[in-house]
């Protein structure tokens, strides 16, 4: 397996073996943190964040710092040369001289792919519009593997914004590659999974897709419940957002209908789709999930820089 120097734009850039290796190394880093404290000394991570991010950006920075590397970049396109009208290609052609690996978040879908065409160092997609978020997927897979002990044969309910939710797109496309997956797609009619993705899943994988409008219909069958936020920033029309924002709210009462061993995940931030009372339920793993994101990013950075050994 050779991940050194490669870009990660979509989870499909990785084979299942490569994903398993990244997850294995992440488990090892989690258990033996001090052993990796200098793994990336002398390397720099460049962060190109064209739209706001808390978790992904800080998680990447934490990952690089915990590996002994350093971080530079921008968190607001308005304070960089982008505000002067610089193209993505030009920005990347400059920054790849300043860093050994780049992570990009951009509101335009396909922007990291474009960056990868010009960069001499690995580009990691840190989320592009409603398209893909591969490192969130790796985080989610590590979380599922940690709590369920497997990635195959899972019944996973995705709830909320399945249309614009890039974390959903990336995760469902990846889990579909594992055998015996069954997905419950719980969303309002206006926010269903994009047709192209549904067609892709149905044509290329043996997974089962069940669409439902009520969360209760999926709860008692699921091993994993993946909640998502209805994202205000993805709507062109505020009225549509206001109408749909409270479509699903997971509370203690609904959790009583769920299986005892089901886990509740969320890419965060949440708004009101998970009531705070659910935080006390031991099946709620969304905060440990965010913590696991650091370890999986440490693993990924190590592989892309070729320092994993």
């Amino acid at each position: 397996m050779q991940l050194k120097g490669r870009h990660l734009i979509s989870p499909n850039d990785l084979t299942l073996d490569e994903i398993d290796s990244i997850i294995r190394l992440a488990h090892d880093i989690r258990q033996h943190r001090s052993a990796y404290a200098d793994a990336c000394r002398g390397n720099i991570l460049g962060t190109l964040f064209y739209e706001p991010s808390t978790r992904t950006k800080l998680s990447f920075e934490s990952a690089m710092l915990r590996l002994g590397g350093q971080v530079l970049g921008f968190a607001d396109a308005n304070t960089s040369a982008v505000a002067k009208g610089e193209s993505i290609a030009d920005t990347v052609r400059v920054l790849d001289a300043y860093a050994d690996v780049l992570v990009m978040r951009h509101p335009k879908e396909g922007a990291p792919k474009l960056a990868s065409l010009y960069s001499r160092v690995p580009v990691i997609n840190g989320g592009d519009g409603g398209h893909q978020h591969p490192t969130q997927t790796l985080t989610d897979l590590l979380t599922i593997d940690t709590y369920k002990g497997r990635l195959h044969g899972l019944r996973v309910a995705f709830c909320g914004d399945l249309k614009f939710g890039r974390t959903v797109h990336s995760l469902i496309e990846t889990l579909a590659r594992y055998p015996d997956s069954k997905f419950y797609l719980v969303s309002p009619e206006e926010l269903v999974l994009p047709e192209r993705l549904k067609q892709h899943l149905e044509r290329n994988f043996s997974c089962e897709l069940i669409e439902c409008r009520r969360l209760e219909a999926a709860l008692s069958h699921s091993d994993v419940l993946y909640m998502t936020r209805i994202q205000r920033e993805r709507f062109f029309n505020e009225a549509d957002y206001q109408r749909l924002k409270n479509s699903y709210i997971l509370d203690a009462e609904k959790m009583r209908e769920a299986r005892k061993d089901m886990i509740v995940m969320h890419p965060l931030p949440r708004v009101n789709e998970i009531a705070y009372e659910v935080d006390r339920d031991e099946r709620a793993v969304y905060f440990p999930q965010a913590e696991l994101g650091v370890f999986v990013r440490m693993s990924l950075i190590s592989y892309l820089l070729g320092v994993n050994s």
Binding site: E109, G110, A111, G129, G130, P194, E195, R196
Partner: protein, 141 residues
């Protein structure tokens, strides 16, 4: 109506009636600088009606564009007043810079340095996947 044969060049035949003018415009034939004839609604045994385009002394047409507009047309290369060869046209597997991505959030619609690039998804529905955002765009020409 009679149009004389050309000595050298190409004849784009069996164009679906009505699409000849579209091809004429998309290939910028008006500015080509060579003699060009566009025949519309010509009787055809096979098609009922068809369009034909003849271009004298020029053969370098964009076959990807032709395939995109009408994958069933035929392109005959003429030399010394005879058909010297036929160029196969089909729905192209990869299309670059010929149409825009349907997705308003796609980087290809926002960055002037990006040439929209598509990969054929389904020839029957003439739908293409954008190389950047992976959304489907249907070609309805």
């Amino acid at each position: 109506m009679e149009v004389t044969a050309i000595k050298a060049g190409i004849v784009i035949d069996h164009i679906a009636a009505g699409k000849g003018l579209l091809i004429f415009n998309k290939l910028n034939l008006a500015t080509l600088g060579y003699p060009v004839v566009l025949l519309m609604n010509v009787s055809s045994q096979r098609m009922g009606k068809k369009d034909i385009i003849k271009i004298e002394n020029f053969t370098a047409v964009d076959t990807a564009m032709l395939g995109l507009i009408d994958p069933n047309l035929t392109v005959n290369v003429i030399e010394n007043c005879r058909v010297a060869g036929k160029v196969c046209v089909s729905t192209p597997a990869v299309v670059k810079g010929l149409f825009a991505c349907n997705n308003p959030r796609c980087v290809a619609n926002a960055d002037p340095n990006v040439s929209p690039t598509f990969h054929l998804h389904d020839a029957k529905t003439r739908s293409y996947v954008c190389e950047y955002c992976e959304e489907l765009t249907r070609v309805n020409q």
